[in-house]
Every structure is written in C-alpha cells, then in structure tokens.
C-alpha cells in the first residue's frame, strides 16, 4: 500500500484530505509528511483574502476561483478559516455555502479550518496546510481569514499577495482601515459596490493611500529590520514600487472580478521584477526557522533540566532574590541554585 505522501504526490484527493487533517492536528504523521513534502513546495502563488465578517470574502473567493478556472488552466486550493468558539472549542464553518459554484470541478479543492487555540497556532497550522496544497501541485492557494489584528498580519506574512476587503457602509470612520491595514494590503477591494456609500468608502481609502505614502515594507533579515521605502508621492506602480490598487467588485454577480484578477497578476509580476518575491519568501522562511530553533532548543533544554531545579529557580525569582536573567544564566551553566 502506498503511504499518504506518495498517494498525495500521485494526485489522490482522499490522501490529500487525510494529510491535511494530520498536519492541522500537528501529529507525528503530519510532521513527518511535512518533512517529506517540503522539497515539493515553493511553487504555488499564495493569496490572502481578509476583511471584517460579512464583507463578502467567501463570495469573492468563489468568483475569483471561478474566473481562474474559466480563463486559465490553473488549479485552485481554498483554505477558509472561521473562528472557534472560545467557550466550547467547537465551530460552525459556513464558507462553503458561498462556494457552491465550484462543486464538481476536480481542479478546485476547498478546505474549511477552525481557528482553534492560539493566534500563533492558527498561523502555524495555516502555513502547514498551505504547504501541503503547494506540494500537491495547486497553482494558486486562496486563504480566507476573518480580519482581526494579529491573525491578519500573520496571514499577510504568509501570502505573496494580500487582498484587504472592505464594503460600503461598514462603519463610516472605517476603523479597520486605520489599524495598520495598508501595511498588509497589496490590493484593496471594495466589495458590494452595488451598495450605497461606495464613493464615500473609496474616497476614504484613497485619502489613506495618499497619506500613507511612501509605504514602508518591513522585513526581518538576519534579525535586523530592513525597510524598503517607495518614493515620496508615488501614485503609480513601477517595476520597483507597488501602490495598492483599489478594485470595486460585486461578488454576487461577478462584476469587477476580471479586473481584480488582473491586479493580482500584476502584483505577481511586480513581485518578480522587484525581487520582492524572494525577499518575502526569505523573510517568511527565516521567521519559521527561528521559531523552530527556539522551540527545539527550549524542548531540549527543559528535558535535560531537573524539574526541581527549575521550580527552585522560579521560587527565587518570585521572591525577588534572583532576576530571571541571572536564573537563566545559572540554569544554562549548570550552576547550583
């Protein structure tokens, strides 16, 4: 019998689905599958779709996938994340309701995910699930997440292209836009363009874009922060600089979808011509590697450290007889405490 990884690489959809579960649950099998699959990753274009609940993210993802399936030969994976109830640990994942047009197409695979525990956990699980789809050969991975603070930033870090979706009349001060959203948006989408208030929302977004420029893209590089700045007053995209375009869509009937897809394609071309693709890739993998090193070292160190010694150090810290830094030094040097 073939193992799941071999079956996945041979195009078996059930094997893919089962591996997604293993990876999401962070099991031994999932981890070793990720090891084997890693060399097959790095080809897919990862597109994040984020915004407040109800702005039409799922409907947009549906239309975008439909568009790609009709216009190109590209296969599409969709990851739709919905929140887990903090009280019960359960979730109702309803994004598929808006994606029924995609049923029956073997070039599309939709997977719903609950946000489960911590924010860091969600980012980790989403990244892992994305890698599985990438290895399985999907050309585009669309990742839908509810826009909420850190999760949004984490998804933006994962994706090559991030769409931030707004809708007219969703709170006139557009609080969501202010909260640093322009730093993560590669394309701004005003969905529900059939609704009143479109001009107002568009004006607000444009105003913010103008104020925000030059846009700074911040990357981690060898622990240093690197800032790439676009020229002051840049209003147009060039090979080297990207100003997020604003696209208006009606996700119910597909209005504006070809234009949105064109913006996404342009962004890919920009990422390639500017070297941004490699820079993002590098910074993402570096973050991942750093996190892994931290994890591994911590686990290793703690397993070699007698529990009583750790507890003693903790008590001394609590009593303010020892600072945490001194404690770490003592523990690392094997000194007596």
């Amino acid at each position: 019998m073939m193992n799941l990884v071999e079956a996945l690489l041979a195009g078996d959809r059930l094997a893919l689905s089962r591996l997604l579960t293993q990876v999401e649950n962070d099991t031994q099998e999932g981890r070793s599958a990720l090891n084997e699959l890693f060399t097959h990753t790095g080809k897919a274009h990862l597109v994040g779709v984020t915004g407040a609940p109800g702005v039409g993210k799922s409907s947009l993802v549906n239309q975008l996938a439909l568009h790609y399936r009709k216009q190109t030969n590209k296969s599409i994976a969709i990851i739709a994340v919905d929140p887990t109830s903090p009280f019960t640990g359960g979730a109702v994942l309803g994004d598929r309701v808006r994606m029924r047009d995609l049923a029956g197409d073997a070039g599309v695979f939709i997977r719903s995910m609950a946000s489960r525990g911590t924010l860091g956990g969600l980012a980790h699980a989403t990244a892992a699930v994305t890698q599985v789809f990438d290895a399985a050969g999907f050309d585009i991975v669309l990742i839908e997440t509810v826009g909420a603070g850190q999760a949004e930033v984490d998804i933006a870090r994962l994706a090559h292209t991030t769409l931030v979706v707004e809708a007219p009349g969703m709170g006139d001060d557009i609080q969501a836009i202010k909260a640093g959203i322009l730093e993560i948006a590669d394309v701004l989408v005003i969905n529900k363009a059939d609704r009143p208030g479109l001009e107002h929302t568009e004006r607000a977004l444009r105003g913010m874009l103008e104020m925000a420029h030059p846009v700074k893209h911040v990357f981690q590089h060898h622990g240093k922060i690197e800032v790439v700045e676009s020229p002051i007053g840049a209003q147009e995209n060039t090979a080297q600089f990207w100003v997020p375009p604003i696209q208006k869509t009606i996700a119910n009937d597909g209005t504006g979808i070809p234009e949105l897809a064109e913006s996404i394609d342009k962004h890919v071309r920009y990422l390639e011509s500017s070297g941004d693709w490699n820079l993002r890739e590098r910074s993402r993998l570096e973050t991942e590697l750093d996190a892994l090193i931290q994890d591994t070292l911590t686990t290793q160190f703690r397993s070699s450290l007698p529990e009583e010694k750790y507890d003693r150090a903790l008590v001394l810290i609590l009593e303010r007889k020892l600072s945490p830094w001194e404690a770490v030094k003592a523990l690392m040097n094997g000194r007596k405490i």
């Binding site: 959809r13 059930l14 997604l20 640990g89 359960g90 979730a91 598929r96 049923a103 939709i110 609950a114």
Partner: protein
Amino acid sequence: MTEKKIRVLVAKPGLDGHDRGAKVVARALRDAGMEVIYTGLRQTPEMIAEAALQEDVDAVGLSILSGAHMALAPRILELLKANGQGNVKVFLGGIIPDEDVPQLKTLGITGIYGPGTSTEDIVRDVRTSVLGEPAV
C-alpha cells in the same frame, strides 16, 4: 499536539427549502465542541460526497424533509464508499416513516431522527459512533 476534533458535515440534500432543523443541529454539535462544516440548501448527493472528502469529516448529518430520503440517502452512502469513505458515519434527520427505517439502517445509516428528537441525543450518538465508544 492538538487533541483530535470531531468534524461533521451538515448538509441539506434535495429541493425543500427549510434548513432551520439543520442549523439547530449544527449549533448543538458546535456547542458540544465539534467542528461543523455547514453547506447550505439544495445539495446534490455528489456535492455532499465531494465536501465530505475535501473536509475529511468523521460524520455526515443529512436533513431531508422532502420525502426523497429513499433515493438520496442510499446514493450518498454509495458515493462515500466509492470515494474510500465508507467509514464515515451518516445520520439522517427529517420526516422518515417507520417502515423505511429498517432498510435505511441495513444500508448503513447510523442514526435516524424524527421531528422533536432532542439535540442531546444526536450529539451523544455522533460522539459515541465516531469515537467507537459503546452507547450508554
């Protein structure tokens, strides 16, 4: 390591347009800590089997009020098996005449629930059948 979550697809095959019951069950399963994938109205058996495969669910809950259960339920069981998901537990809710129950159970439906069934019973049955624990 995250604990294993029970994943359930709740679907509404056929043409009748009421999904209130399906939604109540979906919420009850969520409140019991399960992850429920809700697919909405007017699903064909093919759509349901495809969603079950993509979501790698442990159980499928069907709500059928139209009277077409003897056509829809066996077809869905057949498709699940053909996809290698014969182990997925299938539950059926709706207006199911008593005389149809034995045949549906023989075909492999795990539980059948008429109007007025308490959601606690459904939640308990889903859990015990998926986890392989004996029903209490």
